[in-house]
Symmetry: C2
Subunit: 432 residues, 2 copies
């Protein structure tokens, strides 16, 4: 019996890719189902800056008629509008670039296309991936923010419009919207996925990552961009030892977020996971503020052209951030690097006792209103340290919106971190 | 008595900037002298991909009529054609981008303009900053290469066409052409100058830097881009302890390069400098090959769009490099990072005994012919380690072409490295 359109949008990207590789599913049928979902929900969610159903169908037809292209042969893909694309304008969430048409694809986008991905369109980003939101709404409640800065990518995957989407994280721009929209988000270790053609905000922080509805899917998408084929063949038996880390921000977490976290801890304990309570040292905690300063200082430099030529088209929030960054000079940079080295040393010792750290992904359910995208506090440290991290959905809060936990591995342990995260995901699903 | 046109092209950027700040020299007079020099020598040297005398004069007039703009108020600047510019096409040394006009300035260019710099035009780069040369010739002998990849910037400064120019280094693309053209080149520590809007080749290596005719000048230019005002006020009394490092490539250095190096060592010894012979450990030496692999692997990713859409417009040399990079995956990356960490640890201990390492800058004088830009072997290690380094000219070889020494400081010690380099420069000039 052929799969219905609804069935097809429920397929994970990995399951769909397997059917496509065996030619048991056509790219056109899968895309058709996704497009129907987009047409139904987009007027309410506004996840897309632009999409092109006709062009996507043409690409799907070519895939169905041609040879297998690669690991992403077929699954439709959303691309955050911070990435350059040769066939869609790239607005970077700013009126300065409202009509900007790049001449080529960002490297990460080209790698996905080379592997067979169909780019359906561009998803909404906040202003230059900072805190001034776009129009996107949370797929679970349209009165609430989807989070940011990868707002549209998280919402599109959360609404089953596409199984996969590209995002970037500088502070918490993958983890937080993934948590708010109830999807899996993966930020790999710093330096593995090329950023060429991604609008730069903060060079020592900006990281390309992936959204999907399961760990296997984000591993699939990221593997193509990182040239890491082993992420597509994760070992199955990786029960992690977990460092349970409520962080210095625990009191900022809502009662619902705290409950969801403790419930998850309890379920992992019952599953026989070795758990240790972890209190972060002061040097590690201090990275939260260092992160903010690094981000502002680098944004001040990276957006020099826009500051100089279009100051009136920058939001007040962004102008204030850049003003703050202007006062952070080389000497502060030296302090930040020293802080980072010290924190790396201390946390490295911790990782001898556990495979993953686990923290809340965000302060709670997505905030009501579209004026703010939420606070990145739970991810700043890990972004500055360049550690691989994922959001895993762990149910819903009292407002009916998703909650997530964040798991974090040692630097460059992406393969193990993905495998451990998948073990947790499967354990929580079985127990649910 | 007013300075003649010849006098003005002999002025360092710093000296010119001081006169300009006091309004004792006009930007127009300085630019006029530079333009006359360009018109005289450009037909032989071909340093420029494009320049615009009329627009530059208009900017100079505006500077002379308006308030002081900043530390770079006035000195004409050449910009490597790897940087995006809003008023000049940006070709990245590739026929793919022959007619490409970016919509904005690279961040580093915008920071220079904000500080008052007059961008005269774009200087020739090799193909995407790799090894396939452009048309530029060595200003000291037109039958010889200027080196690469920052070929035009080094040649333009060497020929006194402009006092300052921007370059980038991924392997040896600042140090080698600076040595070949007899100018000072400065590659700062990794991560200090923004790369937004610079065509990406290798993300963990690409570094923006500066060309000038003295250390003070490269410090001035780099300080603006790094938001490091202290580089403009270097202490005067910094006599360095020097680690004399002939490297594993010593036998590849020409007799003339070896002689120039030993002569320099002798003069520093006479000047009372504390010198220690340094033999690099095997872990440090191994970074030469690791550098090459990192560069190829990252270039394979960064140039994915060009590989996919314009393979026939990539040079064979570059295609071979990308093919090599395609086979270097995540697992090799892990090895490279481990090698790098080990080398950092070992070299860090060495830097307790000396303030700078000193090595030859290149194998010798610039090679005859324009087909090759020379070998980057003497800089690969320091590029991969992200260490601040400079080329200092130390006279001429038997073919009448310049020779240079490379000085290298510990990571993020840019202020001290610049000050030590200036001390050496002054000592060698006094003794000459």
């Amino acid at each position: 019996m052929p799969l219905s359109s609804h069935d097809l949008t429920q397929l994970t990207a990995s399951a769909a890719a397997r059917l496509l590789q065996r030619r048991e599913l056509t790219a056109q049928a899968l895309l058709q189902a996704c497009l129907a979902c987009i047409e139904r929900h987009e007027p309410d969610i506004l996840a897309w800056r632009q999409y092109d159903a006709g062009r996507a169908m043409q690409l799907a037809r070519q895939l169905d008629q041609g040879p297998l292209r690669g690991p992403l042969h077929g699954p439709p893909l959303g691309v955050k509008d911070l990435f350059d694309t040769r066939d869609f304008p790239s607005g970077y969430g700013s009126p300065i670039y409202q009509h900007h048409q790049p001449v080529n694809d960002a490297a990460a986008v080209a790698l996905c296309r080379q592997a067979g991905a169909i780019v359906v369109g561009k998803t909404v980003t906040t202003e230059f991936a900072t805190f001034t939101p776009g129009p996107t709404r949370n797929p679970h409640n349209h009165q609430h923010t989807p989070g940011g800065s990868s707002s549209g990518s998280a919402a599109a995957v959360g609404a089953h419009m596409v199984p996969l989407a590209l995002g970037t994280q500088t502070a918490a721009s993958i983890i937080r919207p993934a948590a708010y929209c109830g999807v899996v988000g993966f930020k790999p270790s710093f330096g593995l996925i090329p950023r060429a053609g991604v609008k730069s905000l903060s060079e020592s922080l900006d990281t390309v990552g992936a959204f999907g509805r399961c760990v296997e899917d984000v591993a699939l998408l990221a593997s193509v961009m990182a040239n890491a084929p082993q992420w597509r063949e994760l070992p199955d038996d990786r029960k992690p030892r977990i460092g349970v880390c409520r962080t210095a921000h625990w009191d900022s977490a809502s009662p619902a977020a705290q409950r969801a976290f403790e419930t998850t801890v309890g379920r992992l304990h019952e599953a026989g996971v070795h758990l240790v309570d972890v209190t972060l040292t002061q040097a590690v905690c201090a990275l939260s503020q260092a992160h903010d300063e690094v981000m502002c200082a680098e944004a001040f430099k990276a957006l020099a052209d826009e500051r100089l030529n279009h100051p009136q088209l920058l939001s007040e929030r962004l102008q204030a951030m850049l003003e703050r960054g202007s006062r952070i000079t080389y000497e502060h940079t030296l302090q930040h690097r020293a802080q980072l080295a010290s924190a790396r040393h201390q946390l490295g010792r911790g990782f001898a006792d556990y495979d993953l750290l686990m923290t809340p992904s965000a302060c709670g359910e997505a905030e009501q209103g579209l004026e703010r995208t939420g606070d990145p506090m739970f991810s700043r440290i890990w972004s500055l340290m360049g550690l691989p991290s994922l959001n895993l959905p762990v149910g819903f809060g009292p407002q009916g919106l998703p909650l997530g936990i964040q798991v974090i591995g040692p630097v460059l342990s992406d393969t193990a971190t993905l495998a451990f995260a998948r073990w947790i995901e499967q354990k929580l699903a079985i127990d649910a």
